[in-house]
Amino acid sequence: MKTWCRKVLPPEHYVVFALLILSFIVGMGIWQELVYPGIVRFPFENPATQLALAVFAGAYGIFRVVAFHPASRPDYLAWLKTTPWRPGLPLPVGPLHLAGQDVMTVGLLMAATLLFKDNSPLLILQVFLVSYLLTHLLLLTFSQAFHHAYWMALLWGGIVLLCFHPLAQFLLFALLYGITLHGLRISLNRIERWDAEFLEKQLQFSSDIAAFQETKWGWPFDSLSPERANYVASVRSATALSLLVGWWSFVILFVISSKIQRRDLIEIASPAGAIGVMLVLIRLYRYLYSNRPPISLMGRLLTFRWIIPRFDVVFVGPLLILGVEAGTFTLCSLEIIPFLWGIPVMITLQFLIFFLFPPSLDEWRMTGAHRIVPPSMQQSKSFQITQ
């Protein structure tokens, strides 16, 4: 039994520590009931234990993936690559799929809820599955199984939508688990191609700014070198990402709308407008970061060059994003289209414009009629300006 448990469960001292805390919480719940003057009724009344048990279930779900996934442990990955292990064989440290030990652990937590009134064993199972499958989703992304991660991210919307339909939700959980296992098999088949350095950076959650500075060589080389832009979205990935964001905005609005009046929905949906403004600002920042107008505003006005097509084209995309926003809110306010559909479509379109509307960042950097200046970030403490 001990050996069987060891295959999946955390080291013994952690288990003992967790059991002590769990016993304390459950014991406290029972003790409070026992000392209360009056008739003791079973199940005990202590709804707070639900939260504690749910936290345990969630933590266990995360542990089950993080502790056994080579993508979450660079040292494990490095070691694995030196062993005769090959895809298809069981992972030497322990299985990533659900095992009998998981049924036992989650079952115990679920059973504990039965001691208390208004505690739901179903919630414990839900929390465990959510944390287990979400951690898998994250690590599928890190191990570059993007297709599986994408479909899982889409289906997660269904999990939220079905939160009041447990049976359908558990069917969807089963589907998600199937996708996870398939994605895991595919990604482990490509383990030799996993980028260990990339994984390590993701896991260390290293500062983006520090990583950005690491690859910077100053003025003029960062702006004038024969390199393409670091991040270029393909039509396919941009479309997929835009649809995902739109879908999730629908899911969130749907959940909200089921609980409030339509008038309030308008107020709640209004902040969605901030997404468009944010996209405009990000796009302008990326395009104008070190690329300024070829002549000053005064020069433009006085030389009657009010529009410089090869420079001003950079503003068309952002204006379109704002136009889509204004149009959608007008149509929704006039009740021509419902908010529930209008806002998600608006957000999808805004993201599509953000990613795909010409010119692309490369096209702009290489062919735009702009003046290239040293980026302001490079005037920071990290750079020495020569005399």
């Binding site: 060589w217 024969p226 490369d362 020495q384 300006i385 020569t386």
Partner: protein
């Protein structure tokens, strides 16, 4: 070859470059000289792709700047522009900086390691090569920035005031000889600017004088020598700074305008 066709450039209302057309042959060492504020740096910035002229265009080896992504990338591979003021990553060592820039220009890794060491030796930076750039003096920073342009192996070197910024006589001597041999032995094309004619007379084989946004002289040193009766230096002083000698005479004569 570099071809500049009808380039006009202005930031505000006043034009800095006025309809400039020039051809700079391959394997030449061209010095663009002229007084301060006459458009030398602007011309080099247009050549370097930093500025997009309001009119006209620049071609390098027949490829027009900013005409397409592919053309621009190819030009960037062939031509490196070094402004007079660079921003250097001060927490990186000189060697790391050179290797990083070389990789940006896709220089072969083995050549990069070897070349960076030779460049550090050339500019007497051997001992400082593994120190962070923040510890470098102004002259040493200038040297490492010059090294960074040379490590790219670009066929066209567009250098804005390479002899300024605290470069010591040894550095000036090294740079002069390197540029001369690059052009002669490796057929590289060098375009540099300087406000001081004497500094470039021995480096360049061709002079372009910019005054008030226009080209007043575009000739080889030999052609200029043949034209001048009182020596090239005097000729250049008369052309580049026509009022300065008169001002000196007026000063000692106690006159004012």
């Amino acid at each position: 070859m570099i071809r500049i066709a009808g380039v006009t450039q202005h930031y505000g209302i006043k034009p800095i470059l006025k309809n400039i057309s020039l051809e700079i042959p391959s394997a030449s060492r061209t010095a663009v000289i002229g007084p301060n504020g006459m458009g030398k740096t602007t011309l080099l910035s247009v050549l370097g792709g930093v500025l997009q002229p309001q009119q006209g265009f620049v071609e390098i080896d027949g490829l027009q700047r900013r005409s397409s992504v592919e053309n621009e990338l190819e030009i960037r591979r062939r031509a490196v522009f070094l402004p007079d003021r660079c921003f250097l990553p001060k927490n990186r060592t000189g060697r790391e900086f050179l290797l990083g820039v070389g990789r940006l220009y896709q220089v072969d890794e083995q050549r990069l390691i070897d070349h960076s060491q030779r460049l550090l030796d050339l500019f007497s930076l051997t001992e400082l090569g593994d120190s962070p750039i923040r510890n470098y003096s102004a002259g040493q920073q200038k040297k490492i920035s010059l090294c960074s342009a040379l490590i790219t192996d670009a066929r066209y070197l567009l250098l804005d005031e390479p002899f300024s910024g605290g470069l010591d006589p040894a550095g000036i001597l090294a740079l002069r000889h390197v540029l001369e041999r690059f052009a002669r032995e490796q057929q590289r094309t060098i375009v540099l600017t300087s406000p001081v004619p004497e500094l470039v007379m021995e480096t360049a084989d061709r002079l372009v004088v910019i005054q008030h946004g226009r080209v007043s002289i575009d000739a080889t040193i030999d052609e200029l020598k043949a034209k001048s009766t009182g020596g090239l230096k005097d000729l250049l002083h008369q052309v580049v700074f026509p009022e300065t000698l008169e001002n000196v005479e007026r000063y000692f004569a106690g006159e004012s305008r």
